[in-house]
């Protein structure tokens, strides 16, 4: 039997292919342009300070004059990784759960409503979420463990920010499971759990991973919400109740007031962030390629 591969025609529609190729190249070009731009802005700092100072300097005092200046980025890198990692760890199962609710466990009517609500959440600006976090969430956390503005608050706000991405895309992925497969599973008398485990999750795996990848990118790049609730103290947190500063918050807090080398160092932070995202994506890609998929 001919494999139903829908890929490459050996004689594809030439004009169509070239149009698509051209527009894809535009998309790729944008990435290159942005990378070049960030590199250009970061160059003075990389050139004058060398990459090691960003790792070794004990603190972050870029505005202090001359020899007193310190440019350690590590605590902020830790802040970024911990807050985003925490948020993804929360949002991924929540997203999957909400997708399962919308597709199989919840009544169909409620499922639609649920999706609508998530779409609303997706359109709420991060300032609003940050504002809510600062006024409502952090006082609650403070009662539990001061000072309230903390890694935990950052994680929770980030979770709220990326939840629409994970939930909506997970739902889309779960819906892609062919009805026949579900029927087949039902015909075998499999329980819903077994169907999920044996049919739904394997088929939807690629889509679910996609959702998590996009959400991770969003979490790593998110600025305002974290800025307003995470406390922004530059330190490697010892507990979830400690305040942290992320790379993005650092850029947003200081860029408006930074001059010359200080400004360039902030862009080095941006570059580091892009590096982190690239590594995360590479990991995800290798996961996607690993056996068991498809």
């Amino acid at each position: 039997m001919l494999k139903p591969s829908s890929s490459f025609h050996r004689h594809p529609d030439r004009p169509l292919l070239w149009t698509l190729r051209l527009l894809s190249a535009v998309a790729a070009l944008i990435v290159a342009l942005i990378l070049l731009f960030v590199l250009r802005e970061a160059w003075p700092a990389l050139h004058q300070l060398g990459p090691l100072r960003f790792l070794h300097d004990p603190g972050w005092h870029p505005a202090a004059g001359g020899a007193d200046a310190q440019y350690g980025l590590l605590p902020m890198l830790a802040g970024t990784l911990l807050s985003s990692g925490g948020a993804v760890l929360l949002a991924a199962p929540l997203g999957l759960g909400s997708a399962l609710f919308a597709t199989s466990y919840g009544p169909p009517r409620l499922g639609g409503l649920h999706r609508q609500l998530l779409q609303v959440l997706g359109g709420i600006p991060s300032v609003v979420v940050g504002f809510w976090g600062l006024v409502v969430l952090t006082p609650l956390i403070r009662q539990w463990h001061p000072p309230g503005q903390s890694l935990l608050a950052g994680i929770l706000c980030l979770t709220v920010m990326i939840l629409p991405t994970t939930a909506l895309l997970s739902e889309q992925a779960v819906r892609e499971v062919p009805a026949e497969s579900l029927q087949a599973a039902a015909a075998l008398g499999l329980s819903r759990r077994a169907t999920l485990e044996g049919v739904v999750l394997p088929v939807a795996r690629g889509g679910l991973l996609s959702a998590v990848i996009l959400a991770s990118g969003r979490a790593l790049g998110e600025t305002m919400a974290v800025l307003m609730v995470a406390g922004n103290v530059i330190q490697v947190p010892a507990a979830v109740f400690d305040p942290v500063r992320t790379l993005t918050a650092n850029i947003a807090l200081e860029l408006g007031y930074a001059l010359d080398l200080h400004r360039a160092v902030l862009f080095v932070g941006g570059l580091v962030l892009m590096g982190v995202v690239a590594v995360v994506m590479a990991l995800a890609a290798s996961l996607q390629r690993s056996p068991g998929h498809g």
Partner: protein, 289 residues
């Protein structure tokens, strides 16, 4: 006996899962409800028709948001007019022509994913340097829209590619066997079949674009006057909210009211997008002959 035990276990797990799914749903809904209720409490008293059609007064502490609403729609229009064709084309290219794990396709995909993690403020600075200064567009709705287009591209492409891949291969096979050109099969069979999924991508992109603040602060700018053209600076709703909440003492309730308008706008646009996608799908499959 063993099998009945396993069945029992299965049932128990199933119940637990159902419970969990409901719990998650309640949690999600509760959080959203909480945030929206907070906004309603603060903003609802300020909302009125006048709020939508008046000019802002006293740095936005009173008056309305008409110019801001119009600027927002124009920025969104520019963003979608640019990002949807490019995004859809790239998604088609990746989904239909680049299925392997090697070569040009994965490279594009990988770089786009990386783009998704660039903080929005860096997008803002890039847009400012490239569109506003290098291309000479200045602080304008055009610069802002183009910058947003760059920002939402990864999201659009990823989700649209997923939607396209979900279209069963048999459809493509059937169309090919009938001797239909690939162009026709993509445009008339694959795209409509993927329409609901494409709409999800579009909705995520629109939500992201409307919610964006930092990228716009440096590109479409801060001017709260009615824009005369796409080359004028115009303040977006999210920038207005940010300014009222962070820089204008006493602006919190106006900020909440503006946020409510933004949420309503998101709902409206999402509703329209979903409806249009269904309609498009429907129009193709229900025409009789």
């Amino acid at each position: 006996m063993a099998s009945s035990g396993a069945a029992c276990f299965d049932r128990a797990i199933d119940t637990a899962l159902a419970l969990l799914a409901w719990l998650v749903a309640l949690l999600v809904v509760g959080t959203i409800g909480w945030i929206v209720a907070d906004l309603l409490r603060q903003g609802l008293p300020r909302l009125s028709w006048a709020f939508l059609v008046e000019l802002p007064i006293d740095a936005g502490r009173s008056g309305g948001i008409r110019p801001i609403l119009i600027s927002t729609l124009l920025i969104l229009g520019v963003c979608l007019a640019v990002s949807v064709p490019i995004g859809l084309a790239t998604a088609l290219f990746l989904a239909e022509f680049q299925r392997g794990h090697r070569g040009f396709g994965p490279l594009v995909r990988y770089s786009l994913d990386t783009l998704a993690g660039v903080p929005s403020i860096v997008f803002g600075l890039f847009g400012n340097a490239f569109f506003s200064i290098t291309l000479g567009l200045g602080f304008s709705i055009l610069s802002g829209g183009l910058t947003l287009a760059c920002m939402v591209l990864p999201l659009l492409i990823r989700s649209m590619e997923t939607a396209l891949r979900a279209v069963p291969a048999e459809h493509r096979l059937a169309a090919a066997a009938l001797g239909l050109p690939q162009r026709v099969s993509l445009l008339h069979i694959v795209l409509p079949a993927a329409a609901p999924g494409l709409a999800v991508g579009l909705i995520l992109g629109i939500g992201r674009a409307l919610a964006e603040t930092a990228a716009l602060l440096f590109t479409s700018g801060y001017v709260d006057r009615l824009p005369g053209s796409l080359l004028d600076s115009g303040r977006a709703l999210s920038v207005h909210i940010f300014d009222l909440a962070m820089n204008v003492p006493g602006g919190a309730s106006q900020a909440a009211a503006t946020a409510l308008v933004l949420v309503a706008l998101v709902l409206l646009i999402n509703g329209f997008t979903g409806w249009a996608a269904q309609r498009w799908l429907g129009s193709l499959s229900s025409a009789a002959l």
